[in-house]
Amino acid sequence: MLHYFTDPVLRAPTLGAMFMCAAAGLVGVIFFLRKQSLLGEALSHAAYPGVILGVILAALLGFSDLQEASLTSFILWGAFVTALAGLFSIYFLENRLKIHSDAALCLILALFYGVGVLLASHVQFTLTNFYRQVQVYLYGQAATMTDIYILIYALLLLVIGAIIWFFYKEFQLITFDRNYAQTIGIPTQFLDGILFILIVSAIVIGIRSVGVVLMSAMLVAPAAAARQFTHHFSKMLLLAMGIGAISGFLGNYFSIELGVSLPTGPMIVLSAAAICFLAILFAPQRGILWRMVRTARFRSRCQQENILKAIWRLGQGAGASLEHLKRLIGTNSVELAFNLWRLRVNGWLTHRGAHYELTPDGINRAAKIVRLHRLWEVYLVDYLGMGAEKVHRSAEEMEHILTPELERELTLLLKDPKQDPHAQPIPPAPFPTAEV
C-alpha cells in the first residue's frame, strides 16, 4: 500500500486527490454548520463553463494540449471566475428578487451547466485535441496527474488551512451566533466574502479529481461524518480534513485495484459516503446504533421497575403469577420474560413455578420507586399548584428519572412528608432525615 506514496506514477494522483479532498473537508465543515451544504452543488456545476472557457482561452493564446501545467492554471482561473459569477447570481436572485434559495440554486446550477455543455460541444469540434481535458473535469480523473500537481494542490490546501486558522475565532462566531458577532463589531460581510472565496477555491481545486458533477459530495460527506464524533469546532475541522484525505486515498486505491478502469471521482465519493454512513450508524454517542441501545435499555429499566412496583402494591409477601403480571404490565410476553429474568439475576425477585415474589432487596427497591412517585406528586401539588387528580401521569414518568440527589433535595424541600396527595403513605427515606 505504501507504494501509492512512493511510486512515481501513482504518487501524484494519490497525494493530489488527498490534498484536494482534505481542502474540501475543511471548507465543507463551515458550510455544513451554516446549513448551506447545497451551495457547493450549485457552485461546482457553475465552475464547468469556466473550465472550458479556460481551455478555449489557452488554445487561443497558442498553448498546446501537452503543456499541462499552464493549461491547468488557465482552467483553474476560468473555473474560479465562473463559480464566483454563479455565486453572485445566486446572491442577486435571493436578495434582490426574493427568489427562494432552493430555486435560485437550481436555476444557476442548470443554466451554467447548460452553457458549459454548449461550450464543450464547441471544443469537441474545433479544438479536438483539448476535448479530453474537458471530459476529465466531468467525473474527475486523478490518474493523469503529474508531480507538479502535488505542489499546486498542497499550496492551495495550505492557503485554505492558513486562512481558516487565521480567522478561526471570527468564523466560529459568525457561524454559531451571527447576531452577537454583529453587535460586537465583527465585519460579518467581509468574513462572508472570505468564506465564499474559500468554498469556490475548494471546489476549483477539487473538480480535477472528483469532477464537477460530484464535487458537492466532498463538501458534505466528510463534514457530516465528522459531526458524528465531536461537538468541538476545531476537532470537527481536523476530523473532516482527515476523513477527506482518507477518502481521497481510498478512491484512488479502489479505482486502480478493482480491475475495471473506474473513474476516480465516483470512487472517492463512494469512499467518503461509506465512511459517512458508518459514522451515522456506529459513532459513539450520536450513532444510531448506540441511540437505539440506550433507548432499549431505558425502556427495559422502566418496565423492570414497574414490575417491582406492581408486585409491591399487591401487599407484603403476596406475590403474583405470570398471568397476573401480564395483565398488570400489559406488554408482550417475550419482553416480560426477559425483564423477569433480569430481575431474578439481579436478586430482586424469586419464583416458585410461575409465582413471583420480591426478595428483601426487591422490597427496598420497589419501596424506593413508590417513594419517588409519591414525593413527586406532593411536589407537583404543593409547589406547582396542580390538581391532585392530574399528577399521577407525570409521576409515572418521573419515578424512573429522579436521581438519589434529587430525592434528597425533594425530601428537604417538602420536609419529608408522610402522605401523598391521595392520602397514601410514603415509604420512609433510606437515609437519616434528622436534619430536616
Binding site: F32, K35, Q36, S37, L38, G40, E41, H45, L97, I99, H100, D102, A103, L105, C106, L107, L109, A110, L111, Y113, G114, V115, G116, V117, L118, L119, A120, S121, H122, F125, T126, Q135, L138, Y139, V213, L214, S216, A217, L219, V220, A221, A223, A224, V260, S261, L262, P263, G265, P266, M267, V269, L270, A273, C276, I280, I288
Partner: protein, 323 residues
C-alpha cells in the same frame, strides 16, 4: 428518406422552411414518416419543455426544486438498473443499439427512483437526524456515483456516462417522440385531475391536512411525475439540463404574473419558444459556421437569455400594480 429540407438554412430561413412544413403537415401532404431530424428534435424538446413547466410550477412554488435536482441525479442509477434487470444491452442507453427504448421498464424505473429518493432523503432527515441540506446532498451524490460505477462496470467504458449527463439530441429517433408525449399526457392528466389538490397542498398545507388531503401523498406523486419527466428527457438533454427546463421558464414566468393558471401557460410558452429558437440556432450554426453545437446546450442558454430579458423588463420598466 429524402434530403433534409432544412439543410443549408440559416436562422431566418429555418423559420420559413418550418412554416411551409407545418402547412404541409396540416394539409396532409406530409405524413408521420416525413418527419426530419430537426422536427423530431423540436417535438421532443417542446414536449420536454411542456412537461417540465407543468411539474416545475408546483416544484418551484413548493420550494422543492432541490429534490428535483436530487432525482435528476439518482435517475441514472434507476435507468441503469432497469436496463440491467430487463436484460437489455446497457450500451443501448446511448441510443446506438436498436430497440433502445422499452417504455414500461423506463417508467417503472422512474417510479421507483422518484419514490426511493424522496423516501431516503426523508428517512435520513427524520430517522437518522441528519440536517436536511446535508441528507439531500449526501443521498443523491452517492446514488449518482453508484450509477456511474454501474454504467462503467456494465459497459466497460469510462466515457459512456457522459451522454447521460449531457444528452445527445442528434441520437433521437421517432420513437423518442412517443415516450416524451406519453409522459406529457400523463403529466397533463394528473395535473388536470388533481389541480385543486395540488393547489391546496402547495399554498396551504395545514388547511389541506385539516380537510383530509395528505400533503405528503401529493409530494410523492409530484416526485414520481418529476422522475417520469427526467426519464423522458435524459436522452435528449441529459439528466442535469432538464433542471433548467424545470426552473428557468417557471422563474421567468413568475416575474410576469402572480396567477397560477397564467403562470403554468406562460412557463410552457417560455419553454416551447426556447426550444424553437434553440433548434433554429443549432441549424444556423451548422449552416453558417459549420459548427455542430449541442442543441440541448443551446436551448438551455436560450432559456437563460430569456430569463435575463424578462429580468431587465421586470427591473427597469415602471412597475404596474396589476400583474
Amino acid at each position: 428518406m429524402e434530403r433534409n429540407p432544412y439543410f443549408g438554412a440559416d436562422f431566418f430561413n429555418f423559420f420559413l422552411v418550418f412554416a411551409s412544413r407545418i402547412w404541409g403537415f396540416a394539409t396532409g401532404t406530409l405524413g408521420w414518416n416525413d418527419l426530419v431530424s430537426d422536427e423530431i428534435q423540436l417535438l421532443v424538446l417542446s414536449g420536454i419543455a411542456a412537461s417540465s413547466a407543468l411539474v416545475g410550477t408546483f416544484l418551484v412554488l413548493r420550494k422543492m426544486t432541490m429534490l428535483a435536482n436530487a432525482i435528476s441525479h439518482t435517475i441514472l442509477l434507476g435507468i441503469v438498473l432497469a436496463y440491467f434487470f430487463s436484460l437489455r444491452n446497457v450500451e443501448s442507453i446511448e441510443g446506438h443499439g436498436s430497440g433502445a427504448l422499452h417504455v414500461p421498464t423506463l417508467l417503472i424505473a422512474a417510479l421507483i427512483t422518484g419514490v426511493a429518493t424522496a423516501f431516503l432523503t426523508e428517512f435520513f432527515t427524520k430517522a437518522l437526524r441528519l440536517q436536511e441540506d446535508a441528507s439531500t446532498g449526501l443521498i443523491f451524490t452517492t446514488l449518482f456515483a453508484l450509477g456511474i460505477v454501474c454504467v462503467t462496470v456494465l459497459t466497460r467504458s469510462a466515457h459512456i456516462g457522459t451522454e447521460a449527463v449531457m444528452g445527445n439530441v442528434d441520437a433521437l429517433q421517432k420513437e423518442d417522440c412517443w415516450l416524451v408525449f406519453l409522459i406529457l399526457a400523463l403529466n397533463s392528466i394528473l395535473i388536470f385531475l388533481f389541480f385543486k389538490e395540488y393547489q391546496l397542498t402547495t399554498f396551504d398545507p395545514a388547511l389541506a391536512q385539516a380537510l383530509g388531503f395528505s400533503a405528503m401523498g401529493f409530494n410523492y406523486l409530484l416526485m414520481v411525475q418529476v422522475s417520469a419527466t427526467v426519464v423522458g428527457a435524459f436522452r435528449a438533454v441529459g439528466v442535469l439540463m432538464v433542471l433548467a427546463f424545470i426552473t428557468a421558464p417557471v422563474l421567468s414566468a413568475r416575474l410576469c404574473t402572480h396567477h397560477l393558471h397564467r403562470l403554468i401557460f406562460l412557463a410552457i410558452a417560455y419553454g416551447v419558444t426556447a426550444s424553437l429558437i434553440g433548434v433554429a440556432l443549432a441549424r444556423h450554426f451548422l449552416t453558417s459556421y459549420d459548427l455542430a453545437l449541442s442543441t440541448g446546450g443551446i436551448v438551455v442558454t436560450v432559456l437563460g437569455v430569456l430569463f435575463l430579458g424578462t429580468l431587465f423588463y421586470y427591473l427597469f420598466l415602471p412597475q404596474r400594480t396589476q400583474r
